[in-house]
């Protein structure tokens, strides 16, 4: 079964729609949303409507730090621009959206997979899994072959060698990587709604559990439209520029 992994969508409707369409064209049979559905972008309500529809069809959805912040749990990891965006986001959400976000789990274990926004070692601490040591902690907290997460916006794959230490690997988009189930893998899908590696194209990843392969994708989308909407909403200019330049 092909499972499409979307992380850090950040209220970017154009990016989400483009990723969903790409994933369907690649034969995705199921979706997982790895947190930070909202924040930064201009379309929180439409994005949540879309994800709620997917959830009703069986998609996995977990909570991210921006989602928690939108519910009122502002953590220290959130910067000023993010805080302004969160305050604006709250004004856009209906009680139905709030109810949906409030019901989201921090972590989901299913078969040989663990879904979590940040580190499986402490899902509510919003730790950035940005090096092999933190990847090791996250992997140690679960038995799953695949730990599927976001929070860090750059696409990365951590794998354990026979020595047990994780090694970080930067994937090439579009290349199916063999990810044997007998090994342990920590997948950072990359940000769909706010890429930061200098390339404005949206990120997502596809796990093919039957063939044990993982493919990272980059999807171009109408990022200028998304940036203009950020400006029109009166959100900080920096957030619009980020979408335009992908940095």
């Amino acid at each position: 079964m092909k499972l499409a992994l979307f992380a850090d969508i950040h209220s970017n409707l154009e990016a989400l729609q483009a990723c969903l369409a790409h994933a369907r064209s690649q034969g995705a049979e199921r979706f997982a949303f790895l947190g930070d559905l909202v924040g930064y972008g201009a379309d929180p309500a439409a994005v949540l409507d879309l994800i709620q529809t997917c959830a009703a069809e069986g998609a996995v959805v977990v909570l991210g730090n921006h989602d928690a912040a939108a519910l009122g749990n502002l953590s220290e990891t959130i910067n000023d621009h993010a805080r302004m965006a969160i305050e604006w986001t709250r004004t856009q959400l209906s009680p139905r959206h709030v109810e949906f976000l409030s019901g989201l789990p921090l972590i989901v274990h299913e078969a040989n997979m663990t879904f979590v926004h940040a580190s499986a070692a402490a899902p509510d601490k919003w730790i950035y899994v940005s090096d092999p040591l933190r990847a090791a902690y996250s992997l140690e907290a679960t038995q799953a072959s695949y730990v599927l997460s976001g929070h860090v916006h750059e696409q990365t794959l951590y794998y354990t060698g026979a020595g047990g230490r994780p090694i970080s690997f930067v994937p090439t988009p579009g290349v199916p990587i063999p990810v044997g189930r007998h090994r342990r893998w920590l997948v950072i899908a990359g940000s769909a709604g706010q890429p930061r590696d200098g390339n404005p194209a949206a990120c997502y990843a596809m796990l093919d559990n039957a063939h044990a392969t993982l493919t990272y994708h980059r999807v171009p989308y109408r990022h200028i439209v998304a940036a203009d909407k950020v400006r029109a909403a009166g959100l900080p200019e920096r957030l619009a520029l980020r979408l335009e330049h992908g940095d």
């Binding site: 794959l157 060698g161 026979a162 090694i167 690997f169 090439t172 990587i177 063999p178 007998h182």
Partner: protein, 466 residues
Amino acid sequence: MVALPNPGDELDGFRIEERLYVGGMAVIYRVSSSAAEFPLVMKIPRLGFGEPGTSVIGYETEEMVLRSLSGPHVPRLVARGDIERHPYLVMEYISGRHLSDWLDHGPVGAEEVARLGVALATAVHALHRQDVIHLDLTPGNVLFRPTGEAVLVDFGLARHGHYPDLMAEEFVRPAGTAAYISPEQLFGVRCDPRSDVFAIGVILYELATGQLPYGSPRGAKALRRRLYRDPTPPRAIVPAIPQWLQEIILRCLEVDARARYSSAAQVAFDLSHPDQVNIGERGRRLRRDGRWKVFRRWWRAAGYEPAPCPEVSSQLSSAPIVLVAVAVEYTDELLAQAMRDAVRRTLASERDSRVVLATVISPVSFSGERTEEDTAANRRISGRVQLRHWAQPLRLPSDRVFCHVLESSDPADALVEYARLNHVDQIIIGASYPGLPLFGMPGATSDRVVSAAPCSVLVVRPTEKG
């Protein structure tokens, strides 16, 4: 522990026949299957108590890499077992000889070394083009199909440029075969395709001289000697070895990867065109460097830093072989200028490129007379003189430009065939346009080259004025 099967056993539909090979990492059996279209072998890793822990990683690596590879230079992978139950790989049985068979009877003649070397380098280039570096090339890992193509086997230490490297960090100590391992591999570098070029150099040296350039050292200190102690020049061992072959071998064996050939295709090219090899001091020397020089290199080796790793396929694309098709009998200066501009632009962006200028002459003389000036040999020489003259305004260093006169009554066919045999990455050819003989004729040379070429073709036409 996974028990090894016995002849007569059956595993996932494969009947185990005789045991062909028992090694430290794996056991190989001949197997049969009713569905098989060609002879098969099964390779089973030695896993479990008392077996080397590296063999499982080697098995996984080989499986990953073989799955990704295609073409005549690797065995076809037919089936693989579940790593947790029965790890095995079933692949095509290669019936030909091992390269090591040639080593049984002392030094091999230069022509034969070149023939074997071209086949080997062609296979290695095919691997590099698929983003894989072998990293353990030895005469035992190279076989020849009855058709003459080299087949590379044993990918347990290989590296795929787009896959996680399972070997990384597993081997703080260098992994590879002591006699053939490159200097950078001693430092754990596993991402440079030029490491395979080094191993090709060791194999060519061994074929040509019957000796190993660095022996078979044991231990880290002995292995490091190749960083500062140059091998005995092949011609000092076998005086009959021509300078061009020594030049090629010693260039492959340069300590700094950047001083070696940039690609295996360039090695194949030089081995198949000995008359075009630019022979320098490397090709002429007859003794090893003196003590003082070696001492200085030993001193510097303490601070040896491997060359930065290029990406496998991007390394190749920055080292292309560019074929420029020049019709020397038509002197169209506008077109020639436009083509030289195109060559300049290509060279400016590709730092390690080679330019091959080729022209095609008819095998029979136009006049039909066989005067002394008109023999085929003379027309070849004259063609080369004209090609050199054509390229002169480019002011290229002589080790980057090669001239070839091809003989054929069908220029398009000759160019395409040449490009295929020499791993050409791009062809630059003049368009047919008003003013050229044969303009507008169906099947003009450039059109036919475009449709049949094994690579990109740049068709050059002077910009219209006005």
